[in-house]
């Protein structure tokens, strides 16, 4: 079995022959120099019995034999014998009727006989017997012509042809390398090409689908925002007008009802805004505009956004930022949005007189980097991370609900939702935005003990 036999691909399905492995031009020269050195003929025969190289030995004997009647037949018989003789177990000597001998040597590669080397004719000794002469050629003529053929013992001939066979094997080995190399090269090219074509087709299909989807999606979103938002704005506007007495006086009870209509409608409007945002995030990967930003300023900015709400709810909101943090490469708007959502969630679930603490610092994170299997095995370097922490003294989240709070439209407790207003989209959005930065959000909480949200963002500094 050849090396290729177990690689995939076209060239492996065919065992290479000597013809594929030897460069005939160059190899012929080498064989010629051997032939002239030993003063014999040399022949290399492929496993399919075809001749790869054929170099005549010295002397006229063979040519003369072919000219007399019955000569060609006898020659052919010997050549056939040379091509057929079993050499799986080692070299064989084939004798000619002229008394000359041929060494037939196997050429092996990787346990396989690829072909044979034929060394001769040579005269094993002066008295080598002549038998079965063709009519029309007297023995004396053979003896006379035999003198121009090299004389050497079978043992010497064996040694010489063994040496040549070794060289041939080395050349086969080299040829094998070249062939495998170029085949692999061709194959990896055609493999790349095939993959490219496949990719192309896939992309074309996908492009078409995406275009349809995109159209559908923008229609859908336009419809939602138009069909839902427009009537809502009217409801809010008219309620406001009624409340302000523009349509005549209203009593206190009517006023309370109207305010409820208004706040609920405003919540609904916000929800629609969130849905649109989420749809945007889910339909396409979040597009980040990375700029070097001050991580502390991002937190302060988010906290400032929430300050009025916190004050209204009677919550004590403080923030603290580690000094001297480097600027990091983030999309500051998106990161701020994530923090706003987490903070506003905290405000929502923290009652009167509660506390919210927001922190930002730079840490070396070990745990987050141990994520992929490869990182588990080879141990990744700890990476610097910006850590945002939001602590609240609110109602907390029970254990079994912790991993669900990031699902769209999930809020821990339906009844609580009613009490606190709003819908659980804020945290899903926050998570999508943080993960787009290659970061993640961790939550620790216990019912009645408040919650701690930690946002980890890789502190990439270089552009």
């Amino acid at each position: 079995m050849s090396a290729g036999g177990i690689l995939s691909g076209a060239f492996m399905h065919r065992e290479p022959g000597l013809k594929d492995l030897l460069d005939p031009m160059e190899f012929r020269e080498l064989c010629e120099s051997f032939a002239s050195h030993f003063k014999v003929g040399l022949r290399i025969i492929d496993s399919d019995k075809s001749s790869v190289i054929h170099i005549q030995g010295p002397g006229e004997l063979c040519r003369k034999i072919k000219e007399v009647s019955g000569g060609i037949e006898r020659c052919t018989r010997i050549v056939e014998l040379i091509k057929q003789v079993e050499i799986e177990d080692g070299a064989q000597v084939v004798g000619c009727f002229t008394g000359c001998n041929y060494q037939v040597f196997p050429i092996r590669y990787d346990d396989r006989v690829l072909g044979r080397l034929v060394f001769g004719p040579y005269v094993p000794d002066e008295s080598a017997e002549i038998s079965d002469l063709p009519p029309g050629m007297p023995e004396t003529e053979i003896l006379e012509n035999r003198t121009s053929i090299t004389m050497m013992s079978d043992d010497d001939a064996y040694e010489s042809s063994e040496m040549i066979a070794k060289v041939v094997e080395a050349a086969v080995f080299g040829g094998y390398k070249v062939m495998v190399t170029s085949s692999i090269h061709v194959e990896s090219l055609s493999e790349s090409y095939k993959r490219l074509q496949e990719k192309n087709r896939e992309l074309e299909k996908m492009n078409l689908k995406l275009k349809e989807l995109d159209l559908l999606k923008s229609n859908f979103l336009a419809t939602i925002s138009h069909e839902l938002k427009t009537p809502l704005t009217s409801i809010i506007g008219y309620s406001e007008m009624l409340l302000e007495g523009l349509a005549g006086g209203i009593n206190e009870e009517q006023g309370t009802y109207l305010s409820t209509i208004m706040t609920k409608s405003e919540e609904l409007l916000k929800l629609i805004g969130n849905i649109l945002e989420m749809a945007k995030i889910e339909s396409s990967a979040v597009q980040l505009e990375l700029t070097p930003s001050d991580p502390g300023a991002i937190l302060e900015n988010a906290v400032d956004t929430l300050r009025p709400q916190a004050r209204k709810a009677g919550i004590h909101l403080v923030s603290k930022t580690q000094i001297g943090m480097p600027k990091i490469l983030v999309d500051s708007d998106k990161l701020r949005q994530a923090l706003v959502n987490i903070l506003s969630n905290a405000v929502k679930f923290t009652g009167n007189d509660g506390r919210i603490i927001a922190l930002a610092d730079l840490i070396e994170d070990h745990s987050i980097s141990l994520k992929t299997e490869a990182e588990q095995i080879f141990g990744a370097e700890p990476r610097p991370m910006i850590r945002y922490t939001v602590l609240d003294s609110g109602i907390g989240i029970s254990r079994d609900q912790l991993d669900r709070i990031f699902l769209s439209f999930y809020q821990v407790d339906g009844s609580a939702t009613r009490g606190y207003g709003g819908v659980g989209l804020g945290l899903s959005i926050a998570r999508a935005l943080v993960e787009a930065h290659g970061g993640r959000i961790l939550v620790k909480s216990a019912t009645g003990r408040g919650s701690q949200f930690t946002v980890l963002v890789p502190a990439k500094v270089e552009v």
């Binding site: 079995m1 090396a3 036999g5 177990i6 690689l7 995939s8 691909g9 990787d110 346990d111 080995f173 094998y176 390398k177 495998v180 190399t181 692999i184 090269h185 194959e187 990896s188 090219l189 493999e191 790349s192 993959r195 992929t372 299997e373 490869a374 990182e375 588990q376 095995i377 080879f378 141990g379 990744a380 370097e381």
Partner: protein, 224 residues
């Protein structure tokens, strides 16, 4: 794998994978000199550019198991350099087991991680389930300063679902253990898929004893 039930022959393909210069070719060279001549063929190394593998290296080894079963194992290496990705994919095709040769120097951590992830990707592209591919991990070059400590390697062994072997391939240390471990894993997987025991009448323990005795003899001689 290629099975030839009539001739009682089985050919297994093992691929040495890993980042550039981690010592894949060195592993094969070491195996070539450690395994008895009668059990191995010629080492073809196709490194032409400054000793860097461009296509692959190949070392065939073979041994007779009991019941006159001939087991041929073809060891291939891939080129580790990032640019030769499609060659890696081609060489990986049809693999029965993978030896991941990591460079244990601390500075090479990320290279190991990237190459490992690349291996997973290429396994998938070849239609393999990376989870079920028999695989061992070798931390090589432990003779160098600033490499993974014993404790760190222990830590990796705990975290990894693959067997982990320490090695100094350039001195031949650990290469046979790595190979023997992988052949054992590979046989287990092939046995599961092809019930080799039924086909060849060779039990797993008998096979392993055969293989290991062939590989281990010289291992002991080499003082490892």
């Amino acid at each position: 794998m290629q099975l030839n039930v009539q001739d009682r022959e089985i050919t297994i393909k093992i691929v040495y994978y890993g980042p550039a210069l981690s010592g894949k070719t060195t592993n094969l060279t070491a195996i070539h000199s450690l395994v008895e001549d009668e059990h191995r063929g010629k080492l073809i190394t196709l490194d032409t550019q400054d000793d860097r593998t461009i296509f692959f290296d190949l070392l065939p080894i073979h041994f007779k198991a009991s019941g006159n079963l001939l087991i041929k194992v073809k060891l291939f290496t891939v080129p580790g350099q990032v640019v030769h990705d499609s060659t890696r994919r081609v060489v990986l095709a049809g693999a029965d087991g993978v030896a991941f040769i990591a460079d244990a120097q601390h500075s090479k951590k990320q290279d190991n991680i990237d190459s490992f992830n690349n291996l997973k990707k290429n396994l998938k592209l070849n239609g393999f389930d990376p989870e079920s591919m028999p695989m061992v991990v070798q931390f090589n070059k432990l003779d160098l300063p600033d490499t993974q400590t014993k404790e760190e390697i222990e830590e990796s062994r705990r975290r990894s679902s693959h067997p982990v072997y320490p090695a100094v391939a350039i001195q031949g240390k650990g290469v046979i253990k790595t190979l023997a471990g992988l052949i054992a894993l590979t046989w287990e997987e092939l046995e599961k898929k092809h019930s080799l025991e039924d086909k060849f009448g060779i039990t797993r323990t008998a096979f392993l004893e055969n293989v290991l005795s062939c590989l281990k003899m010289k291992d002991i001689k080499a003082g490892i």
